[in-house]
């Protein structure tokens, strides 16, 4: 039997790194592409596929943003809060409005796809063809809210494309910068087929796909021919780590460089590590309540208004969100640019709530508020506080926690949770998408036809209007109608927090994109 002595122990210690597979990484750092580190992001979940238009969610777009490019780029980081809405040339060098329903786009020349093909108008036409994002047999029906409006997309020459819409559309440029407008490679898409392409897409983005497994990791490698410059990381790995403790432990022990989905109550703890920074951003999304008009009690708008007036939104933000979430100025956001209405606010007025209840003859009938416990961050906590706020003005509210969205919105629901994202920085890309005729509250008559009539007429007028001043007037009237009829109300805009190694330069954006392009991801010099 071998004797354990000092020499044996030292030999064992020397072998340990090999056993733990540490050596390859150590050598990699000194290799040829040495000066570029690998970047590992631990996320709570990964998308099922990498077809960006199929994965219109925070989980999906976080990854696909590094693989794909759009014709026009929304400059989120042009604003200090990460919510800029200026449009910048990207795969397109310029665009010109020929009419209210026609746009000519000039493509950047010399842009390469990951397979070496050059980007041409054919790829753009293929991306927006009838049958992919639009049309009766669209492969991706989720694309219709964005591009169902297109009548035709044609190539004028190899670097020029004409977009024509069915009706006047002031938002077409914004649509082309949205999360549904990533340009795909025609040759790869046709050769691989829809499903195979969805698993290993070929595009023009700064990183190309090495492998993807939804339950394990998505591995990307730098695409050095990227038209905006050489990517700063040699390899980017998105690891699926659902458990927060494991994500935090991995970040602290240097397994990961960045972790997502930090809940508000963990921000201070994680931010307490010397080498870790918590970077948060207020999302272009609002948590809202819906008041069901089918209900006899809530069909009286005074009761609905009273529910709105009784909510101290700032208190919710301060207590549940550490003051880092935001109470918006109604369904009205600064990223709308010139359409943003200054000076509006959602009032907190308990006396007015009491007066409205008295006027409506409310006699303490029970009002049921249904919520899922954890679909939305802090939903349950906020619900408990809301019930108390309503009780304080005399509303007999009760909370029911349910499992599924069906149960929440099903029979017996009087109030339930929802969220509204600002998909495009314009009222038509937010308020109208959610509360207009294409949205579920109108389709299910949760907002009754008589109550929504004025709002809908104004919205249709806004869709057809192209004059900025008139559009703003219409929007103000829409907001008035929405607040007065109170089919629901906004609570707050939540924040999304990321924890990252302090030495790494990176900024989050208000949308769910994770921008790892060379201008937003920089590592300290070795």
């Amino acid at each position: 039997m071998p004797q354990i002595n000092r020499r044996l122990l030292l030999q064992g210690a020397a072998l340990t790194p090999f056993i733990f597979n540490f050596v390859p990484q150590a050598f990699a750092a000194a290799g040829t592409s040495a000066n570029r580190p690998e970047f590992t992001v631990a996320v709570a979940a990964l998308p099922a596929t990498l077809e960006p238009a199929r994965e219109l969610s925070n989980v999906g777009t976080r990854v696909t943003y590094s693989i794909f490019d759009t014709l026009i780029r929304r400059d989120f980081l042009g604003s200090p809060d990460g919510g800029g809405s200026q449009l910048k040339p990207h795969l397109a060098t310029s665009w010109e409005r020929v009419s209210a329903s026609e746009l000519i786009v000039k493509l950047r020349q010399g842009v390469k796809f990951h397979n070496g093909d050059e980007l041409t108008a054919e790829d753009v036409v293929y991306t927006f063809r009838d049958g992919r994002l639009r049309g009766d047999k669209a492969q991706i029906p989720g694309g219709k809210p964005y591009f169902g409006i297109l009548a035709d997309v044609t190539a004028i020459d190899p670097y020029t494309v004409r977009f024509t819409t069915k009706v006047a559309d002031v938002l077409l440029e914004q649509r082309l910068a949205s999360w549904c407008s990533w340009i795909v490679n025609k040759r790869a898409y046709e050769q691989m087929g829809f499903d195979a392409y969805s698993r290993a897409p070929v595009a023009t983005g700064p990183y190309r796909v090495v492998s993807h497994n939804q339950n394990e990791a998505t591995v990307l490698e730098a695409f050095d021919d990227y038209f905006l410059g050489t990517p700063t990381a040699k390899k980017v790995t998105f690891r699926a780590v659902p458990e927060l403790a494991a994500r935090v432990a991995g970040l602290v022990s240097n397994e990961f460089d960045l972790i997502t989905n930090i809940p508000p109550d963990q921000v201070a703890i994680i931010g307490g590590y010397d080498d870790i920074d918590v970077r948060s951003v207020v999302l272009a999304n609002a948590h809202v309540l819906v008041f069901d008009n089918h209900d006899k009690l809530l069909s009286d708008k005074r009761i609905r208004q009273a529910l709105c007036f009784a909510i101290d939104r700032q208190k919710l933000v301060d207590t549940l969100w550490l003051g880092k979430a935001e109470v918006p100025a109604s369904h009205n956001y600064p990223e709308y640019g010139q359409m943003f209405v200054e000076g509006r606010k959602l009032p907190f007025d308990p006396q007015k709530a009491k007066a409205l209840l008295a006027e409506a003859g409310y006699k303490g009938e029970k009002i049921v508020y249904k919520t899922q416990a954890s679909y939305y961050t802090n939903a349950l906590e906020a619900a408990q506080v809301l019930v108390e706020m309503w009780k304080a003005v005399g509303i007999n509210a009760t909370l029911q926690v349910v499992e599924t969205s069906d149960q929440m919105k099903g029979n017996g629901a009087q109030i339930y949770n929802w969220s509204n994202s600002t998909r495009l920085p314009d009222p038509l890309g937010a308020l109208w998408v959610a509360w207009g005729p294409g949205g579920e509250v109108q389709a299910t008559d949760v907002w009754s036809p008589e109550s929504r009539k004025v709002f809908t007429e104004l919205g249709r007028a806004l869709e057809a209007e192209t004059d900025p001043a008139k559009r703003k007037v219409l929007f103000v009237k829409m907001l008035d109608a929405w607040e007065d009829e109170a089919p629901g109300t906004i609570l707050y805009q939540p924040f999304e927090a990321y924890a990252i190694k302090k030495s790494i330069e990176w900024r989050p954006t208000t949308f769910y994109f994770m921008d790892l392009r060379p201008d937003n991801l920089r590592f300290p010099q070795a």
Binding site: T49, E216, P242, R247, V252, R423
Partner: protein, 316 residues
Amino acid sequence: MTAHSLVAIALRVLRSVFTLILCVTLVFIVLRTAGDPVEQLLPPETPPSVLEEYRVAWGLDRPLYVQYFSYLGRAMTGDLGVSFTNNLPVSAIVAEALPRTLLLGVSALLLASVLGLTFGIIGAMRRGGPVDRGVMAFAVLGYSMPIFFLGIMLILLFALQLRVLPSSGAKTWAHLIMPTVTLALPLAGRIARFARTATLEVLGKQFIRTAHAKGAGQIRVILKHALPNAMVPLLMFYGIEIGLTLSGAVVTEAIFAWPGLGRLLVSSVSARDLPVVQGVILTVTLIIVLSNLVVDILHAFIDPKVSLSSTLGGTR
């Protein structure tokens, strides 16, 4: 093998098939009545017309009984359908995750067996003494500690504080250590208690006294005479524990991001990817049914007093 034995095996296989069909039916009904998967899969503001298009594409607009018989018919031929989320065949998705779960499960069973049997036998040999009490305290601690808590504690200690083990993933064998220990410790506790009782029972038998009288040493008596006899009840115990280990793997894999069947089950349940959920549950049921069948057959071979037909519940 006698004709009786063959009949018994055939009957048992039939019972297993019935169990599988029952399980598939129950899971199908529960999943289909637990909410609309389309609403769960798509973003909250997706227009109702788009939701309806997805319902039609996935066959969810058809009556429930049509969906059920269509699924059952395809499942009989090995076609478990395709995932709602990525259109991949469910069988391929399950086949990709299964080896990882088997690796974790087998590792945990081996570790738990080594720890549990060792402590159980030591406890029996030192019955009533401080060693026995210490061993039993370990056993109680092992099986009463929730897997979720244990897993997090291990991460905090070995990944966060000591930084000697990776916190999650399945890249190297080092990634296997914490999930294995998490899954094995509760099982080891249960095995230790069971092994102690079984060994104590055997140690009181006459043949053990005879072995001692013939001059056999304590180790030899335990290994050669006591352990093989104690294995009979232990084997049956393992049959039950395989199911518990697999259910424990669901939690363990979620904590450590181990990309096996448990992790797949959790992610597909939260995404309401019904075909995948059904495929995973069918596979897990199949493993449990098969392992119990194997245990029953092994029981008859190990214990000469028991016939194959009696262990399988057939006729003598």
